[in-house]
Symmetry: C2
Subunit: 200 residues, 2 copies
């Protein structure tokens, strides 16, 4: 490799080292064995495997699976600086956008320019939720913690006093990207209310 290539690889590997910190960003989701709360790196892995398994439920037939997987793999990187903002924490959500833009500016620009642009574009596409891929990724990003809550007797909902109206209102955007999955989730949520996991 010539000198310039070497500098490029050095920046790429520094980025690989930097993003290790996502493994220490803790989410308000319990692991299903309830042993601890989930971190954002393993959450991103879970979503990427879900894209592989559930792409047939995307709203349209021509889902770009690779772009969707890339998006979910990088969608939380800004949390390295901005932290995970609990979706039902209204106060923390007030300055979320600003904190996340600043984080994106620093973190993605650790990479060589072409890759900084590619990853930032993926993150912005995910956030904007305009494309099929972003909407499907967002649907899985809602489905995964729902499955965790439903399989841990709703402990985190109860801890944070989350009510069914909040859960419905936050998660109904699943319908934009994965209507069949949303239909299924509705039956699961109905049952959770019957069973007392989620207060009406």
């Amino acid at each position: 490799m010539d000198t310039m290539d070497h500098e490029r690889l050095k920046r790429q590997l520094e980025f690989v080292v930097e993003i290790d910190r996502l493994k220490s960003v803790i989410r308000q989701t319990l692991l299903i064995d309830r042993s601890r709360q989930e971190n954002s790196a393993e959450h991103s892995w879970h979503l990427a495997v879900m894209v592989i398994l559930l792409s047939e439920y995307a709203k349209e037939k021509d889902l770009d699976v690779l772009r969707t997987i890339k998006m979910v793999l990088v969608h939380d990187l800004i949390e390295i600086d901005a932290g995970d903002t609990y979706c039902y924490d209204e106060k923390a959500n007030l300055d979320k956008a600003e904190r996340e833009q600043q984080a994106a500016e620093r973190i993605f620009n650790l990479l060589p320019d072409d890759q900084a642009q590619e990853l930032r574009a993926l993150w912005e596409e995910f956030e904007a939720r305009k494309t099929l891929e972003a909407r499907f990724g967002a649907a899985l990003d809602r489905l995964q913690p729902l499955l965790h809550n439903l399989n841990t007797e709703g402990l985190m909902w109860q801890k944070h006093g989350v009510r069914s109206t909040q859960v419905f209102s936050r998660n109904r955007l699943m319908e934009e990207g994965a209507p069949l999955l949303w239909d299924h989730v509705l039956t699961l949520l109905e049952k959770a209310m019957e069973d007392g996991l989620l207060s009406r």
Copy 2:
């Protein structure tokens, strides 16, 4: 959805819940902040992001990035039953293949048949290391813990009494899939020996 589709989705979601257990499989790699050991789910996430960033270093130009990412995302799922086998533990490696085949049989078959076959084929391709994609994925699977060791003063090498000859012999297969990355690693390992992180 008709009844059959509903059964399919149910199996897919049960699999999504089952693989949460990969987050509790602990590896012999320290996080770079040294706060704890890494688990196999977040390790798989790290590799998938590395495929996105480093695919230009694959030995040949026509790397199938999607198949490589899928492979690294699922390559450790069998550890849910078989556990993580430390690469420098010779005794544990004696029955590794058998334990992992049994695990593959149970875990992948939780899925609907077509997807069980797809994921098992990806895992077997990764293990066989015959294709460019498998070789490149394997190279990253070596590079990532090396970066962790190099950035944590080689603490895990020292804990397990790992010597440079073992590190070279285990990792030189990087050359098959990513020769430029292997060249770079050689200079890093030389420096690690000079600095006393790794015993000669």
